[in-house]
């Protein structure tokens, strides 16, 4: 179980993403987001996308893809950034912990 905790300073939204990695693949992903509708939609879309994906793959997800899929207007682009940040943070945490473990 790995955590990614991120925030969007543009609006004060916070998001916690949990991923279950086994061994190099995201088996499951859950999120908890305190924020606006766009932030929740972005988080939700992100968890759908990362499930079953290889870590290296999931790491490549770009906020622009999320923004495009949800057709976010310019004022809400930061919500997709939040989601991208979350998966990056979670994977980063996982990888750095593994290094320590090894």
């Amino acid at each position: 179980m790995e955590l990614g905790l991120v925030g969007a300073p543009e609006c004060g939204d916070v998001m916690k993403l949990q991923i279950q990695v086994n061994p190099e693949t995201n088996e499951d992903a859950k999120f908890k987001t305190y924020g606006c509708g766009s932030a929740i939609a972005s988080s939700s879309l992100l968890t759908e996308w990362v499930k079953g994906r290889h870590l290296d793959d999931a790491e490549q997800i770009k906020n622009t893809e999320i923004a495009e899929e949800l057709a976010l207007p310019p004022v809400k682009i930061h919500c997709s950034v939040l989601a991208e940040d979350a998966i990056k943070a979670a994977i980063h945490n996982y990888k750095s912990r593994k290094k320590i473990d090894v």
Binding site: C36, G37, S38, A41, L45, L70, L72, P73, V75, K76
Partner: protein, 619 residues
């Protein structure tokens, strides 16, 4: 008023009653000639070829229920879905038309007559305009129209369309509580604190508004507003109606009340009970369903009424809490509380407000008139009659657009002072895309399903470019009337994108023009017919009045005078059978002259004024 300045009157277009006001040399006052009750009930009745409006229509609620329409304001700019609860209570038929628009259907079988709420509202406006013109002796072209503060853009647009159809130019829309604040704040006779925070609690026939204003040096600045456009005295009536039905069912389990006549009788009785209970701890009532040959009577207790309406009063207090929070003020910071709207006459409402705000509310200006008077004062300002005060109002609810996933992105936040402009940049998703669809919503919630769809904007004529390259700046402009307009420009090419507005719940320009042409064609025929019906009803009223004070006549008038009156009554009866409205009017005038001594007598006067006692508790 100087000659160059064209008068702009104020009109309070209410759910139950409508009236106009203006500034006379002596000061602001409701428009209406002496002895002529200046309120026009917001009721219409279809005669087969045209509408009767006001008092005459109101009298036909029982005799002609299926053709008599009231509470139209509740339908303005709404869709059938949103109205499902309201519709059940109304005795007339409402059907869905194009683009979620509703129409009122008249007639029991085909061919039906169908009318949009805008057309019906226009009929009321025409009547108010006509009465104002008669009283002022001059034509009226422009008006300040009041709307509930919590009316959204669709409801305002619908009201504006009604004005267009009625041939009235809207000089300005102002919010009802704000209008009331102006009337209070500028009343020289009143010792209202000149600077400070004023709460206006406005509970009318069909709408509730709460506004907090900051008064300082003749500037009336609305700080925050909240409300409910589907809550008012009508709902108080409805809970009483439900109780009455339950009681009747206990004696007559088979009884059904879905026919228009029963609905009208129940509604009228509920109104009667509500009014009586404002003055006494209990009241008798009786219902006479003549078509069913069933009657029913009983006693209604004040405590029962109060417990029935308590949840609705609590709803209004919830709005009070909300608006205080929006304004970032505590109850202690409120300097005055002003009550507006007929439903604030109810003692339970007053008690609750007093205990909530911890101070007795102001009620000195007639709560029925105060909104119209405020609008009249604002009209005077717009006409150039004075410029020593200023009203700064707000947009009640946020405006924004739909983003995929059904979320709502606010572009202009609620409670922003108007006029206001905000822009937002859009781009394309596909190469060479030349148009973008934007859905406009209004509301305070996160998801568009909880907000109101105002319309769809199609941005066309975007120069073909790679996806993401065009920068289409869309400008949202809310004018001082609280009405939204949208324009767009592609910034890279400087090309103006065309915007086509497809209003939901609203009329297109073409539809408005068609309605106006139609009504012009029928105008002449309708006019004679309408007058005939109006005069016939006036005659009936006069007859009733004479009958009621005949005792007085026997004491006060000579036998010859009494004979003359009797003879003239016969002449009028004959005229009533004819088709010549002017002849009937002439004979009625003669009768009026003959009975003048009766009307001048104090007893007679009180009876004649009884005739107008139908004036309602709601506004």
């Amino acid at each position: 008023m100087n000659n160059k300045m064209k008068r702009i009157i104020g009109i309070d277009l209410g759910t139950t009653n409508s009236l106009s006001a203006t500034v006379f040399d002596e000061g602001p006052e409701v428009i209406g000639t002496d002895g002529d009750f200046s309120v026009t009930p917001s009721v219409l009745s279809w005669t087969g070829s045209g509408w009767l409006v006001g008092q005459e229509a109101r009298e036909r609620r029982i005799t002609n229920p299926e053709n008599t329409v009231y509470s139209i304001k509740r339908l303005m700019g709404r869709s059938l879905d949103e109205l499902s609860e309201t519709v059940q209570d109304l005795p007339y038929q409402i059907v869905e038309a194009q683009r979620q628009l509703v129409k009122v259907r008249i007639g029991e079988s085909k061919p039906y007559k169908e009318f949009t709420p805008q057309e019906l509202s226009a009929e009321i406006l025409k009547k108010v305009k006509q009465r104002a013109e008669e009283a002022l002796g001059e034509s009226v072209e422009k008006a300040v129209i009041t709307v509930p503060a919590y009316f959204d853009d669709a409801q305002r647009q619908a009201t504006r369309d009604a004005c267009r159809i009625a041939g009235l130019e809207v000089a300005r829309f102002i919010n009802e509580p704000t209008a009331a604040a102006i009337a209070y704040g500028l009343d020289e006779k009143r010792d209202l604190q000149k600077d400070g925070h004023v709460v206006v609690y406005d509970l009318g026939g069909g709408t509730f508004d709460i506004s907090i204003l900051k008064l300082s040096g003749k500037i009336f600045k609305v700080v925050a507003t909240h409300g409910n456009t589907q809550l008012g005295g009508d709902d108080f009536d409805q809970v009483v109606v439900e109780t009455l039905k339950d009681r009747i069912h206990q004696e007559h389990p088979e009884a059904e009340f879905d026919d228009p006549e029963s609905k009208h009788i129940l509604k009228k009785t509920a109104e009667f009970i509500k009014i009586k209970l404002s003055f006494s701890p209990e009241t008798d009532y009786s219902l006479d369903f003549s078509k069913k040959s069933m009657s029913f009577s009983g006693v209604f207790k004040l405590e029962e009424f109060e417990s029935l309406i308590a949840p609705m009063i609590e709803q209004t207090l919830e709005s009070c809490r909300h608006v205080l929070r929006e304004a970032n003020l505590s109850v202690k910071k409120i300097d005055e509380v002003v009550l507006v709207g007929g439903s604030t006459v109810i003692p339970a409402v007053r008690k609750q407000i007093e205990s909530f705000f911890g101070r007795p509310p102001h009620v000195a200006i007639d709560p029925y008139k105060v909104v119209a008077i405020g609008a009249g004062i604002q009209g005077h300002l717009l006409a150039g009659g004075r410029r020593d005060f200023l009203l700064l109002d707000v947009i009640p609810l946020a405006l924004g657009i739909e983003t995929l996933g059904g979320t709502f992105s606010k572009i202009i936040t609620g409670n922003t002072t108007i006029p206001i402009e905000e822009s937002e940049t859009f781009t394309t998703n596909v190469d060479n895309q030349t148009s973008i669809d934007v859905n406009i919503f209004q509301g305070e919630r996160e998801l568009i399903k909880d907000c109101r769809a105002l319309g769809q904007f199609k941005l066309r004529g975007i120069p073909p470019m790679k996806a993401g390259l065009p920068l289409v700046e869309v400008m949202f402009r809310v004018d001082a009337n609280g009405i939204l307009t949208v324009s767009a420009i592609e910034k890279r090419s400087g090309k103006k994108a065309e915007i086509e507005v497809i209003p939901f719940h609203g009329l297109t320009q073409f539809e408005i023009e068609r309605i106006m042409e139609d009504s012009f064609e029928h105008a002449v025929d309708d006019f004679n017919e309408r007058q005939l019906i109006e005069f016939r009803q006036t005659a009936e009223r006069v007859f009733r009045g004479i009958e009621q004070c005949w005792d007085v006549a026997e004491n006060d008038l000579s036998e010859t005078s009494r004979d003359e009156i009797q003879k003239q009554m016969d002449v009028v009866r004959q005229s009533m059978k004819g088709q010549d409205s002017q002849a009937l009017k002439t004979q009625l005038d003669v009768l009026g002259d003959l009975t003048r001594p009766l009307a001048d007598n104090s007893m007679g006067r009180s009876i004649l004024s009884e005739l107008q006692d139908d004036a309602n508790l709601n506004q």
